[in-house]
Amino acid sequence: MDVNVKYKVNNQGAHRFTMWLFIVTICMVFAGFTSAFLVRKGAGGAWTPFDIPGIFKVSTLLILLSSVFLQVAHIANKKRHKLMTSIGLFFTLILGILFCYFQIQGWEQLTDMGIYLSFNPNPAGPFFFVITFIHALHVASGILFLAIAFIHSIIVLRKSNKMETHLEEDNIQKGMLTIRTDLLLLFWHFLGFLWVYLYFFLNFNLK
């Protein structure tokens, strides 16, 4: 067994903990943004509230649905159901991409409504753009990791169909996939939760 892989598999607890810490750092980034938002709003001066377009409701649903599929993939992987794992990951991936697409649609709708980013005398608009854009960037990085996990699951699926696969190597591959899905599960659920929080925060504070 490759020592490096063995090292990683043995260190699973540490990896999950590190992911939690990473989540804390992202929380701090958005704590920074949202407090800047509140400070700027509270300081008075130009600040025109607006209604968030309904399309953002659709993206909220999409990202929540994607979390459900990732949970399915996770449970399937635990029960060693390889096909279901791949299917779950696939739908999570598609829904994640759709989420980003709908966010872009939402930004375009906002621009059409006259709420734009550059040289907008109303700072509420730019704040909305920056906060949602940075969140979408995080989702995009999540999509990248989802894609890697998905490809990995396909490899595991195909290898297990061949008889000659070395049993030990198969176990390593499964172990690695479990780490990937475990870490993704945390990260992706967090991004979904973060979006729901941001959605309510912005909705509430832009009224």
């Binding site: 020592v3 892989v5 063995k6 903990f17 958005f30 920074g32 800047a36 130009a46 730019p126």
Partner: protein, 607 residues
């Protein structure tokens, strides 16, 4: 797979088996020395790059100090070396501001954050807690290479025809937000921001790993309250970084949008050359809040590792248990918590509500309590100790001296009423250079002299080290002590020349003295660099445990092996400060991996 790193702190059999596996892998030069995943190598990489940065940052300060010392002279020979910065033998004002900005950025972030934490967290955390490597060696390597990338970007910005960023290391808008503000606010500032965003990535990836390693990979018996104070300090440093650096990301992101995408988060009502800019409604004070929410914890990121190392070094070299082990830990915790709620003491002159200001005064002055606890404990550790005078202990004592001198002026500046008078004067410059610049450097030097044998298997030259110490200690006070008086007289910082001000130009001689001292101190550091490089190759070979210390890093083979220990990981039976425990014994130290004797078991109250 180039590494052979394996770990499994709680299952001995596995680690042994896996380690036997490890030797099957051959290593190339590149995988061993360049893209290494071994924490010991990565620590050295951080150290080398940090030293290069320190020399560059120091040299910059010498160049602008020459301008301040002799504002009327011309220096054609300097122009030959730094042609781009000089016209007719005189330093350009724009270049002066770029140099001041880069000196601050390099010293605060690249040397005292990345290199200090990076070097010692890497070398000490796994070795002192008994782990085979970091929780994620790959992330560890990524942390260094991101730092390297940030360094490349920051370094190349110095050579831009328009000059490097010049808005001060705090990059306050609108200077930093408007490319029209100064030549350095164009491409120089853009590259500064790119470099810093990469740099923050490096710090975060590293910090996540350090915290995770400390909490997950301690060897058997190494409970939290048996950890050396170095590990505690590096652990809290990483936590501060994790909580504060992300806010600098938010701060920089909003600035990047203001610079490139026409938003007005920090900009409002700006008229340049009679023409109003289309920015409206922003607030530069908002930037200061976000910046200092990082910026203040940042000074503890700089000083805590030095504090941790000094605690360890003083205990080892005075052959006494550290005084108040738990008090040391809880004072670090106190500093960590309080450090997050005092940021607005950098902003007393922003028109802040005096009531809010007084709350920040209160919190700021409260930090004096844990700081004083630490100073008291260092002094009482030394008190009646069997002190061994050698370079690490000299620098550790020097650290305590600097920390007291600089800390006392902190109490002045923490008071809003005094700060309003002294704000942006040389008093502030003197305060923060002594308390977080020189003190942190002393801690770093103490650490390098102490752990050099652990890193390179050889000892550094003592004579050169003592000369280095004398020059640095006396020279640092000569540079910064007079600055307090300049500041009290109201001399403002960051000015290019004081010729036009009758009130300030009378201090021209004092400024010359400071500059001469700065040049001597800079040259003194070159002695250290020579000693360092010479000793790597030609230094006296070190024995396994040259300082007769208790911590686990001295039980790992001094030549450095992959996985840190051949065979099993050591098991810990006692705290790390059992010095001079048994007066009847010839040996005055008992390493952490020595089991308790029957007699000790009866009366061993510590941990």
């Amino acid at each position: 797979m180039q590494t052979t790193t394996v770990t499994e702190p709680h299952v001995k059999e596995h680690s042994q088996a896996a380690h036997a596996d490890a030797h099957h892998h051959t290593e190339t030069f590149i995988s061993k020395y360049i893209f290494s995943l071994d924490h010991k190598t990565i620590g050295k990489q951080f150290l080398f790059l940090g030293m290069a940065w320190a020399v560059i940052g120091g040299l910059m300060s010498v160049v602008f100090r020459i301008q301040l010392g002799w504002p009327d002279e011309t220096f054609p020979w300097l122009e030959k070396i730094f042609a781009a910065w000089f016209t007719d033998g005189k330093l350009n004002p724009e270049a002066y501001y770029s140099l001041v900005t880069m000196h601050g950025t390099i010293m605060v972030f690249f040397v005292l954050t990345a290199s200090l934490s990076g070097t010692f967290a890497n070398i000490l955390i796994p070795l002192q807690i008994g782990a085979r490597d970091m929780a994620s060696p790959l992330m560890n390597a990524i942390s260094f290479w991101l730092f390297f990338l940030a360094s490349v970007v920051m370094f190349s910005s110095i050579f831009l025809p328009t000059g490097a960023a010049s808005a001060g290391w705090t990059i306050y808008p609108p200077l930093s937000a408007l490319p029209q503000a100064s030549p350095g606010s164009g491409m120089g500032m853009t590259m500064w921001l790119i470099a810093m965003v990469i740099f923050i990535g490096s710090t975060l990836v590293g910090g996540l790993n350090y915290v995770s390693t400390v909490l997950n990979l301690r060897t058997r018996g190494m409970s939290m309250f048996r950890m050396p104070l170095t590990v505690w300090a590096l652990f809290f440093t990483a936590i501060i970084g994790i909580l504060s650096f992300p806010v600098l990301v938010s701060c920089c992101v909003l600035l990047i949008f203001d610079r490139g995408l026409g938003t007005s988060f920090y900009l409002s009502n700006i008229v340049i050359g009679g023409k109003a800019l289309p920015f409206a409604g922003g607030s530069p004070i908002l930037f200061q809040h976000l910046f200092w929410f990082l910026g203040h914890p940042e000074v503890y990121i700089v000083i805590l590792p030095a504090m941790g190392m000094v605690s360890e070094i003083l205990a080892v070299h005075s052959r006494k248990p550290i005084f108040g082990y738990k008090a040391m830990i809880f004072s670090i915790l106190g500093i960590t918590v309080l450090g997050f709620i005092v940021w607005a003491h950098h902003m007393y002159v922003t028109g802040m509500n005096p009531f809010i200001g007084s709350i920040f005064v209160l919190f700021t002055l409260l930090i004096a309590i844990p700081s004083a606890v630490k100073v008291f404990n260092w002094l009482t550790t030394l008190w009646r100790g069997n002190i061994r005078v050698n370079p690490p202990s000299m620098f550790a004592v020097g650290f305590v001296s600097m920390f007291i001198s600089g800390g006392l002026t902190g109490i002045w500046l923490g008071n809003a009423t005094i700060d309003i008078q002294l704000h942006d004067t040389y008093f502030v410059v003197a305060h923060f250079h002594i308390v977080m610049g020189i003190a942190a450097f002393f801690g770093m030097f103490a650490g390098i002299y102490h752990w050099f044998p652990r890193m390179f298997g050889r000892m550094m030259n003592d004579t050169m080290a003592y000369i280095h110490f004398a020059i640095t200690f006396i020279g640092a006070y000569l540079i910064f002590w007079p600055m307090h008086f300049l500041g009290l007289a109201g001399v403002p910082r960051r000015y290019y020349t004081f010729n036009e001000f009758a009130a300030f130009s009378q201090y021209a001689t004092l400024n010359k003295v400071i500059t001469i001292a700065a040049i001597v101190v800079f040259l003194g550091q070159l002695i250290f660099v020579v000693n360092f490089i010479y000793s790597i190759f030609k230094g006296r070979k070190s024995v396994q445990n040259p300082w007769e210390a208790n911590t686990l890093e001295w039980t790992s083979p001094i030549e450095g092996v992959h996985g840190n220990w051949n065979g099993d990981l050591p098991e810990v039976h006692r705290w790390p400060y059992d010095y001079s425990r048994n007066p009847n014994s010839d040996v005055d130290f008992i390493p952490q991996n020595v089991p308790l004797t029957e007699e000790e078991k009866k009366d061993y109250v510590h941990h």
